[in-house]
Assembly symmetry: C2
Homo-oligomer: 143 residues x 2
């Protein structure tokens, strides 16, 4: 696993430690981390504070995202996939999509290269969370 | 024009008066406004603070959005369309799509009823803004 995904996993763990949803994200440009973030819905009481949204928000106003890579521990939902499409991000690398299918086809239709690493640690972390806190999880995905 | 769209236009004008991008949004449930908001990218230095995102954020954590209607002065971009799809909003009513085509087909594919009112006031307000501040506008749509 590359070190950027490791950072995304660290972010997810920070979120869990804060009583939040363990999803982490990192934005990378030219081999360097531009910003990182984790889901903040519980912490900020904001239904839209998904990990990828928080991460992109933390990047400030880059203006152009076409040379960035978005890492996430979980396959982006339509909100976050929509952000990637709208901002012209060309590459999305995810930890897993077993616990949530997200919108990979939507991203691919818009020219984004989506790679699913199927990382055991990501799968297990999310599976445990969904089992422990189904209330939070199902609220998060708009159900 | 119904009064909810009038409120969205008011929000857009507030944004313009603050030196921001004149796009406004209102979320409605059972004939009542749940929340309102306008684009805050300039004001909050947040590239993701699109009007619809701010408006949904201002609603707190409703949990279920299936009986809400999202109004916006402009056709939602993929970020905001993705939010509507992910949160299960069933109806989106927009002021115009002349100045920006957005993602109506993506929303319709996911079962959202999209109505474009083609309101002159919305078209003119946005057209003037794009002419006056092309720098801000083209940054906003991720170009």
């Amino acid at each position: 696993m590359d070190s950027f995904m490791q950072c995304a996993i660290e972010e997810a763990k920070k979120g869990l430690a804060e009583g939040g949803i363990p999803i982490g994200s990192v934005l990378v440009r030219n081999g360097q981390i531009v910003s990182r973030g984790h889901n903040m819905r519980v912490q900020e009481n904001d239904p839209l504070a998904h990990a990828e949204i928080v991460c992109i928000r933390n990047s400030g106003r880059l203006g152009n995202y076409s040379d960035t890579i978005l890492y996430s521990t979980l396959m982006p939902c339509y909100l976050c996939a929509g952000a990637a499409v709208q901002f012209g991000i060309k590459k999305v690398i995810v930890g897993e999509s077993e616990n949530f299918p997200g919108g990979p086809e939507f991203m691919r239709e818009h020219g984004i290269e989506v790679t699913d690493l199927g990382i055991c640690e990501c799968i297990e972390m999310m599976k445990r969370f969904i089992k422990d806190r189904p209330d939070l999880w199902y609220e998060d995905i708009g159900k």
